[in-house]
Amino acid sequence: MRSMTRTNRLMSAIKYLASSVMVLVIAVPLYISVMGGFKSVGQLRAEPVSVPHPFNWSQYTDMLAGKVGLFWLELANSVVVGLGTVAVVLVIGTFAGYALARIKFKLNKAIYLYFQLGLLFPLAVAILPLYLQLRTFHLLDTRIGVILPQAAFGLAVMLMLLRGFIKAIPMELEEAAAIDGYGRFGFLFQIVVPLSTPILATTAVLTLVASWNNFFTPLLVFNTEKKFTLPLGVMGYMGEHAADWNLILAFLTLAMIPAIVIYVCFQKYIVAGLTGGAIKG
């Protein structure tokens, strides 16, 4: 028995050691970014890893005060594009998901499979014609030109999640609603939507994170720096200030914070949505 506990103790020590090493592997690059933002270029060159001495706040404050770079503007652009995408996906996704989950009609299965084709088509395959199409519709360099494709390419996964959830709402509720004189839309808005809040929240958060981090679509669409989202802004900034690594690191750190905040607040939804969607698919 005693040897058993000893092995257990050893095992648990190994487990903590392994986990801690991985924590370091993740934390060190992030630490370097945060601290690098506080250093002068000279200090960065001399001691890339150490704690800054002295702490040089000007990189962060200049950036936050708008003296250097376009952090706030790009943050706002990311928010607008992200929320826009969420709004479009939620509205058209809920409508379509509801129809596919609750209404029997001839083409139901066919239309669902049609949407599922989206899972087979990666954005990369469509990107060249998409560019030309957006040009034809005069949507290049507009926010809606980023929002719509993002929504369209997110739709397949979202419909899969939403349809499954809405299908599980008991038939009795629908019958009771019919007797109470609700129409189809009344039932949708007053019963289905409130009951589906968890899955709608998951959908919204996943869409927001995807849009927040998306680089390919904004790269394709935006030309004007004033419309750049954060990932584009970071790339652009790096192109222009390749030598000012302290400023680039400060910018990176600031740009990371919103994503980390979203993650910490909505972790439950993100993990559930990703694994739920992955395992059902």
Partner: protein, 295 residues
Amino acid sequence: MYGGMGKPSILTLAVLLGPALIVFTALVIVPVFEAAVFSLYKWNGLGPMVEFRGLANYSQFIRDAIVHKALWHNLIIAVVSLAIQLPLAMALALIVSDRRFKGAMFFRTFFFLPYVLSEVITGVLWQFIYHPQYGLVRAIWAILAPAAHAPALMGNTSTVLWAILVVIVWKYFGFHMTIYIAGLQDIPQEQIEAATIDGASGWQVFRSVTLPGMRTSIQLSVFFSIIGSFQLFDVVWAMGKGDPVNAGETIVTYMYKIGLQRFNIGYGGTIAVCIFLICLVFNLFYQKALVREET
């Protein structure tokens, strides 16, 4: 029988399904088919598309040395990231799924963190880490070989792909771990307990109960690694756009350069179609192999 609401009117269906169908068709389905059409022409995206080339673009694709290089890189990324990520993610999932393991929630949250950071921000951050004059690599080098200059990992054709691979593992192992955690939760605890009572060692339990129970999760994580590798763009673009001399090129970065930097829309379309076919063929074979294995 139509339950509840009775037979739907065409108008109701149109209002509910119309917007999604229009957006999806116009921005997903039509472009994919257009790419197939473009792939048969020589066209710069301006003016009428008149120079029909038949399958000439495809034979160019097959002979293109950079295509070979890029696809080879995609394959290396898929295989190596699997070889590292799968065991690593599995081991960590086992560790943090143990209910007696204190702080499991903290570790889980932390390991998943890189996945939610943008690929571009991650890529730029790692460019700094690899920077021969500033980064972490330089600091490590200063300890190991103080006399020598630190290597420029991102500027050297023989190291750039490996440098990118490290970032891919750093960013995505937490995602795979999360898939495995979800898989572990579906294994009945009684099975593990029963095996343990029968005297099976930890390793035996893992081999005979845990691993078979994780089959679906492993298949998924393999699937995501391979498909993800063939669609890889952001991280590579943020870490030097596939340069120097295409040493970090992936098939999607090459397509982007051909199509939207050199405006060779026809050949770019060909590459797009081939990416789609590779993913599709892999998808079909993978599904088929899985079905055969199960019967």
